[in-house]
């Protein structure tokens, strides 16, 4: 984790700035959009305060809410092969490396923004304790889904960008990380809530704003973790035999 953190900051902390700017550029119009919609009297199922909290916390903890390891691109670049030469499980190394890579943004973006939130009138305190187990299950599931996509990439013969595009597209729409499910067209909501990506960002964030039923949401998160982790581990074990790496 420490190596990964240092890898992100080796060239100086200044290089974190573009990522912070990108996050702010994402956040600002979304916050304004909710305010505009509330002002125009749109028939929204949630209050303005809930929508602002949802988007704000989503931006702060985006890395955790939809986990993305470097494994797919490292497979393409040839870096992943070196992980097999270390006396430690590859998946465990990937988990540690990914968690380490979160630290700079958590320290230099999420923490200051979290402390700043009362000043801009956004509530970031979870409405219920269930937020925390839900976030834990969300991160766990995020890793499982990521490892499954790593296997997809391996079978796509190293077309990492193809796997990346498909995966990010699905995650953007189906994880609830951009627009809360409750604000989507009504006929789509049941499907969005039940599919595996719905147990990622949308689940803890719904607890954050007090809009989730604990039994149903946590139950679904546990269910998808129990289904997808064995698939991820089993498929990775099989796929690593077919891994081909040239270096990009």
């Amino acid at each position: 984790m420490q190596m990964s953190y240092m890898g992100r900051t080796n060239d100086g902390y200044l290089y974190i700035l573009p990522r912070i700017l990108v996050k702010l550029l994402y956040l600002l119009p979304m916050l304004v959009l909710w305010k505009v919609l509330a002002k125009q009297g749109a028939n929204l199922p949630w209050t303005l305060s809930q929508l602002l909290s949802y988007t704000y916390v989503q931006t702060l903890f985006a890395d955790l809410l939809v986990v993305q390891t470097e494994a797919s691109s490292w497979n393409y670049e040839g870096k992943l092969v070196s992980y097999f030469t270390r006396p430690y499980g590859v998946l465990r190394q990937l988990v540690a490396q990914t968690m380490g890579s979160w630290i700079p943004m958590l320290l230099f973006f999420a923490l200051p923004m979290y402390l700043l939130s009362p000043l801009i009138g956004i509530n970031v305190i979870p409405s219920t304790f269930w937020f925390f187990p839900s976030l834990f299950l969300c991160v766990m599931l995020g890793f499982a889904i990521d490892f499954i996509f790593v296997c997809v990439t391996i079978h796509l013969r190293g077309m990492a960008w193809l796997g990346y595009v498909i995966r990010m597209s699905i995650a953007a729409l189906f994880s609830g990380s951009v627009i809360p499910f409750s604000i989507m067209p009504i006929f789509l909501i049941p499907f969005l809530q039940i599919q595996p990506f719905g147990s990622l960002a949308g689940a803890p964030l719904s607890f954050l704003v007090g809009q989730a039923e604990p039994f149903r949401v946590i139950g679904l998160q546990v269910f998808w973790n129990m289904v997808l982790w064995p698939i991820a581990i089993g498929w990775f074990r099989k796929s690593q035999e077919t891994m081909v790496s040239y270096g990009g």
Binding site: D11, Y15, P18, R19, V22, L25, Y26, L28, P29, V32, L33, V36, L37, Q40, A42, N43, L44, E77, G78, K79, L156, R157, M159, L162, V165, I166, M168, S169, I170, A172, L173, V178, I179, I183, M184, P185, I186, L188, S245, Y246, G247, G248
Partner: protein
């Protein structure tokens, strides 16, 4: 004479890249179709969130859902053209080539830099997904809005589309120049910036406060990619001088990008980029 020869060479090379792209499509059809679909899924997903929201609410700000659909169709077409002309060999993500030390490969080609960059990215078959989906979305929006498509309007549409494409390419090259100075950290900077623009360009700015509108139409050109051209196309009674703004904006941005790349190249020839290990993998 030289210009004529360059133009002829340009089309010869475009034909060559088109043939190679067709060759890939025919040789490896499954993967080529997957790549094509991934582009469509990516763009459709990026516009779906806002469209579904506007669908649920009937519109956002002054714009009805059909206006938003038109803007999203226009944005998809811009993405489509970018992918069509600048996907191959990362010509649209130049920071990757700089960061990976691949600019060195360009020095040994018997072609000028601009000629290489304008032709190498052409993938008319496997990168056409978004042009097709963007066209479909735009046609549906035009029908629902009952727009009277005259020759002049169509010309205006195509012109604005090309200017938006120039804006996207210029911003990509402008930020890519940073990779000359910090190849590892800035290798993916064009991807970060273009991804951010892809998100920001979908907002109907007429619903936003003036300060945000000005920012997204100047320092951050997201509004110039789809929203501003859409306002010009949907409200044809606007003063004609407003039509020249995208032209001036894209020209200024292109000049800035050109200057930054030239300056970066001068630095590059003095320092180089050493990122490859002996066994071929990147550092």
């Amino acid at each position: 004479m030289v210009v004529k020869r360059s133009i002829r060479r340009y089309f010869e090379l475009m034909k060559l890249y088109a043939q190679m792209d067709l060759g890939w499509l025919l040789r490896d059809t499954l993967f080529a179709v997957l790549a094509l679909s991934a582009d469509v899924v990516g763009t459709v997903s990026s516009i779906s969130g806002l469209f579904l929201l506007s669908w649920r609410l009937g519109g956002i700000g002054e714009w009805q859902r059909e206006h938003i659909l038109f803007m999203l169709g226009f944005a998809t077409l811009v993405s489509g053209l970018f992918q069509l002309f600048f996907t191959g060999n990362n010509t649209g993500h130049f920071s990757r080539r700089i960061g990976r030390g691949q600019v060195e490969h360009m020095w040994i080609q018997p072609l000028s830099f601009p000629m290489q960059l304008m032709t190498e990215g052409f993938l008319p078959f496997t990168a056409s997904g978004n042009v097709i989906s963007g066209t479909l979305i735009t046609v549906i929006a035009i029908q629902r809005l009952s727009i009277d498509v005259s020759f002049a309007w169509a010309l205006q549409f195509v012109g604005l589309l090309l200017l938006s494409l120039v804006t996207v390419v210029a911003i990509s090259y402008l930020v890519s120049a940073l990779a000359f100075y910090s190849p590892v950290q800035a290798e993916e900077i064009s991807t970060y910036v273009l991804d951010s623009l892809r998100h920001l360009r979908n907002f109907p700015l007429n619903a936003m406060p003036k300060s945000l509108q000005v920012t997204l139409l100047s320092v951050i050109p997201a509004g110039m990619i789809a929203w501003y051209p859409t306002t010009l196309l949907l409200n044809t009674s606007q003063p004609s001088w407003r039509m020249s703004i995208p032209l001036i904006y894209s020209a200024v941005l292109s000049m800035l990008a050109l200057t930054a790349i030239r300056k970066g190249l001068r630095y590059y020839v003095q320092t180089g980029i050493h990122r490859y290990l002996v066994h071929g993998h990147r550092r």
